[in-house]
Symmetry: C2
Subunit: 187 residues, 2 copies
DNA sequence: AAATCTATAGACCGGTCGGTCTAGTGTGGT
DNA sequence: ACCACACTAGACCGACCGGTCTATAGATTT
């Protein structure tokens, strides 16, 4: 038998990847099970509240994973413009490597379920809240005046999210760089 | 019998509304049929390529509808800041009136299907292209220098799209206003 | 070694999915 | 009057949906 918690994590990671690529309603539990190699019984043992719980935890996991990666990328940058460029590069690379299959790991599920499942909506809200917090810290570190940090972090997150979506639609990452370059000019 | 084309349009309008609220995979054809009062045979008579065609045309319709409304709102504005504020107000009102059910009529379907259906992806791309074109014209009219118009229109569209998504997730329109206010400061 | 608990395993369920098919109905042309 | 044609109407299909259930295997405790 597999070690404690191993199956749970494998299922969760598979689900996170599929939800990111195909969205909530576009991803079937059977597919998650097939790709993770787990039987149905295990799924409902580890996630007794079913698909909703699986999606909530997937969003939380993705949010944390990407949030950590972003923090690393951003904190390594010497100044604001470099940091924003690194941010854009990070997402652009993910887009290209997945043939535009993987944009924001939260956005698709967020839009699909915001009005349908309070649980998932809250998980998405939390994930974005964490990113916003990280952005504020980074902006402060780059010398942005304290009273501008809040709105600016919001603007950066919004435009990055929009750019990520447009890039998938256009199958072209240039919009991401175009946006981050202009954001850099604001600092 | 209903007049020529009447059923087709009723189905299309119902579909557009449902796709906007629930996304592509979250909307069933049976629901579209039930709400529009059409039988299944009519659907496949008017849309022989099925759900994909219905979604493509819905996106095109919504894109045109909202695009026209935006053009009206924006062209009525005396200057850039007023125009951007009007843009934000338009979307914020839609969000509030629908209890955060209706954000961008294209975004959810776009994210869900960009990697899955080339047809729908192209329709979304066209819709956003039209909006971008309208934005460029408006910016030019507000005296933005010609070489800045392209990138700036992209930034406005991106950040507005991101803000619309975040607003639904946060169930709060303030992010929309926060973003349009900062964009206005860029002109 | 017996008992207990965690987790796996997958058959099974009613319901809904997108899509097809055949029959019929109202309308305009001739 | 008749015929085409455009459109309506909904029964029907296999596939798949999320979810439940019972049985069992492996590890852990006593």
């Amino acid at each position: 038998m597999a070690p404690r918690g191993e199956t749970r994590e494998r299922v969760l990671r598979t689900a996170a990847e599929l939800f990111q690529r195909q969205g909530y309603h576009g991803t079937g539990l059977n597919q998650v099970l097939a790709e993770s190699g787990a039987p149905k019984g295990s799924l409902y043992f580890h996630f007794p509240e079913g698909k909703e719980q699986l999606a909530s935890e997937s969003v939380a996991l993705s949010g944390r994973t990407v949030g950590d990666a972003l923090a690393e990328v951003v904190l390594a940058a010497p100044d604001g413009p470099a940091g924003l460029a690194a941010l854009g590069d990070y997402f652009a690379r993910n887009l290209l490597e997945s043939d535009f299959g993987k944009g924001c790991p939260v956005a698709t599920v967020a839009l699909e379920t915001a009005a349908e499942s309070e649980t998932i909506r809250a998980a998405c809200d939390t994930a974005y809240g964490e990113w916003l917090g990280g952005l504020r810290v980074a902006l402060l570190g780059w010398g942005v005046p304290e009273e501008r940090v809040g709105p600016l972090a919001t603007l950066v997150l919004s435009s990055l999210q929009g750019a990520l979506m447009l890039a998938r639609v256009q199958r072209d990452v240039s919009v991401v760089h175009q946006v981050t370059r202009q954001l850099a000019g604001l600092l």
